[in-house]
Amino acid sequence: MVAALLIRLIRPLLVRIVLCLIFLWANGNPIVYAENEDGRLASPGSVAEQASPLVPAPLRLSPQERVALRFLEQGRTAFGREHFARARILFERAIEVAPLQPYGYYFLGRMTFAQGDANQALTFLLKAELLLTQDNVDWLGETTCLQGAIHEDAGDYAAARLHYQRCLEFSPQNLRALSALARLPEDDAG
């Protein structure tokens, strides 16, 4: 009886610890590798490249989108090296060339969040989300997860939980959303 009670008390804590460990492990192992400006595989380790899924294969894209993708890759590289001004130029160029491609907005959202402008970040991410097709679940998951992180950072845990849950709808295995949901306070008082 006592053991059952103890297990019941400890189990949520254990779950959170395990999820946090998984999250830390995953962050040490980049999910994607992207091409750098020279066309070679970029070395892992940059913040920008760790957490974003691969963009679609260029063969399926229009010529404009392929060019935009190139700017995007260069922007990712610059962002990974924390050359924010250069990264912004490249992301914006990607949007200018193919304004309906969502990835430029996603990275601009990511970057503006890194620079501390949560409102801009959320709007860019909303735009990215609106442009992502429903079958692009990896990117939808990433986008909503990042929206959750921004809300969490701002202390709006209710909105954060909502976005993390949406993230899991798209990408049930998203470890960051899982761990965030485990770590968020039970009540939404922020």
């Binding site: 404009q64 060019v67 190139r70 914006e92 304004p99 309906l100 801009q120 609106l130 429903q134």
Partner: protein, 823 residues
Amino acid sequence: MQRIFWGIIGIVFIGLLATGSVLGWQFYHKLEHEVVTRFSDHRWEVPSKIYAQPVLLYPGLSIADVDLFAQLERLDYQRVEKNIRARGDYWYDSEIGEIHIFLRESNYPGRQRPARQIALYLEKGHIERVVDLDDGTGLLFIETEPEIITRFYAQAWEERRIVKFYEVPSLLVKALLAAEDQRFFEHKGVDLWRVVGAGWANVVAGRTVQGGSTLTQQLIKNFFLSQERTLRRKLVEVCMAVILENHYSKLQILENYLNEIYLGQRGAKSIFGIWEAARFYFGKEPRDLTLGEMALLAGMIKAPNRYAPNRHPERAIQRRSQIVRRMAQLGDITAEEAQAAAQETLGQRKIPLEKNKAPYFVDFLRKELEKSYPAGILTKAGLNIFTALDMRLQHIARDVIQKELVELETKHPKLQRETPEERLQACLVAIQPQTGRVLALVGGRDYQVSQFNRVTQAHRQPGSVFKPVVYLAALERERNHKDGWFLPTSLINDTQFTWFYEDKEWSPRNYKDKYFGMVTLRKALAKSLNAATARIALEVGLEPIRDTALRLGFTSSLPAYPSLVLGAAEVTPLEVAQAYSTLANQGIFTAPTTIKWITNPDGEPLKQSILAVEQRIHPDDAYVLTHLLEGVMAHGSGVRARGLGFRRPAAGKTGTTNDYSDAWFVGYTPELLTVVWVGFDQHAPLLKLGGAQAALPIWTEFMKRATAGTPPTAFSPPPGITLVAVDQETGLRATPSCPKVIQEAFPNGQEPILSCPYHAPGSYAPGSMRRTPVRTTLPSRRHTSPQAASEKGVFLSLRPPQPVVIETPHHPSNRVKPWWQLF
């Protein structure tokens, strides 16, 4: 006595000598101070340059769609018959489908690129591969240098680009010295042998045939002195030249000379400096000039307009031969080189017309810039201003306006006017909604006749173009927690009524006084029905409509009178573009952007515009309205665009004011928004022509050409929207028997649950619906209490649970009645 006399003479002489020395010393110091101060502080007056966007070339691009050769011509590229040799050359072989271009270097901030030789391999008119000819590697894309739109000149229209001494080829310097001052490196500012020689030559000839001035003296004359020919000025010039030589090196003097020298005219503008002259006369940079061209440039200094190769080729060739011979005599070149240079053909270069290619845009830009920079800076500091303007679209816009207005006047001769100032006008502005970049802006028909920029300065009534604001406010109603809501299938009563406000009354009337009775919201917008729109506005209220308008981007004053809802308030076309741009960008506001970068002459950024976004409208509402506006293009007042050949997915709205003095068309694809206005500055009526007849053809032609080369894209519904097939007339779920079925956009959970009962066998005929309204149970809706549903019984979705009264003196007519009480 004699001793005393000589003593006095001696003293006087010594006194005069001393006085002269003191005065001379003072004079020298004064001149020295002046020369050193002014020479050190000398700043060239370099006009600021305004650039358009560079042209991006990449595999898959159709060269016809981007009008590549016209773009190269505007960039002052010269087609050559054989190999490309100099920057600015290009070669094209249509048979093998290859274009070689020697791109000039690009100074675009963040995208600087050195000069580069590239090849474009074509396949059926499309670029198949882009190859860097220097190393043979394939490129994913390449862009040209940005095109200069115009320059901001000071009162003196001087064109000059400053070069450093090391940028000038040594042969050009040698040619210059051979022509003007062969002992430049030997004398100290004044060449006595040259003075004597020139004097003797002039005496022998009996007139002035040779000058004795050194380069230093010429520089002094241009820098400090007037052009008058007096002995005093000559003496001062000599003194100053000596002072200059004492304080500055020969290379410094030569560099200044290369930038200062006058080399002819380009219309009203003066060409100064060797770089500008090389570009103007030969389309090349100094480092790419041939020996013959260098000799010619050097020879022109003596009399630039007399020896200009574009005006007097024979004289120019004679002068070139003289310089080449002299260079050979001085040992600068060999006899063979001299012979080859003398035999160079003087190519008949096509000099591009130097004119402001987007005058209205530049005026607008200048006004924006003058808020941050004094006019003097803009005209003298040599800033580089990189704009968002797309020159291809700009040219299309200008051409289309010219052509379509003439066509309109030909078709309707009563629109013609005798004086140019009174002629029919039009304006156009095109924006990329996602970035706010102003891609094209034409503020009027002819800038020479009228500089009034109708895009930014003309406050005109928008007419029906304003109506979507009313519909958007209605669609937003539920989101704003107001009672009653609207969906595209909501039924509105399109009959005459009177709106009472502030002891006044206002009766909106439909076009030709034709009323349709109960219509869906979609049909009301598609047919631009005034009465139905005003009824919606009465329900929604003026304040929410004004609030929606402000959030969309309208900035003009919008008085809270009922006529506002039919577009009676005056706004500029740029505001209209801004508002619709927010819609096209899924409710996200981005301010219109004209300037991308400003850099100083050294290319260091002074200002950069960054993309800033703000969500102002919920994306679901923005989409539903866009979907409704797609209906305007499909079967409403904008359907003529389809007949004229514009087939892409697009949303749009016509606008016509009551007195027919303004005709509008606003339309957008997901990637490009364009606003067109047509009218008379004097507010004269356009006969009986509305937006669909006067403005829509301009919009259509522009959009057809502007979007060529890009794949068509559709408006994609956001996740909060569900598309449902409904019967067009009833707005209920379509059945197989329904004759007209359309896809309608509903916010999730607000889709109709009932199927159309009217087209099933044995049902009412659709026409009977108006006479015998059928009550239905409330469709499944969010936020709707069953109690409210059972109490009211609504037809589809227009369900004001409580009558809404406009905040004006109470009057029975101001009460919105349920639809069944409206008959």
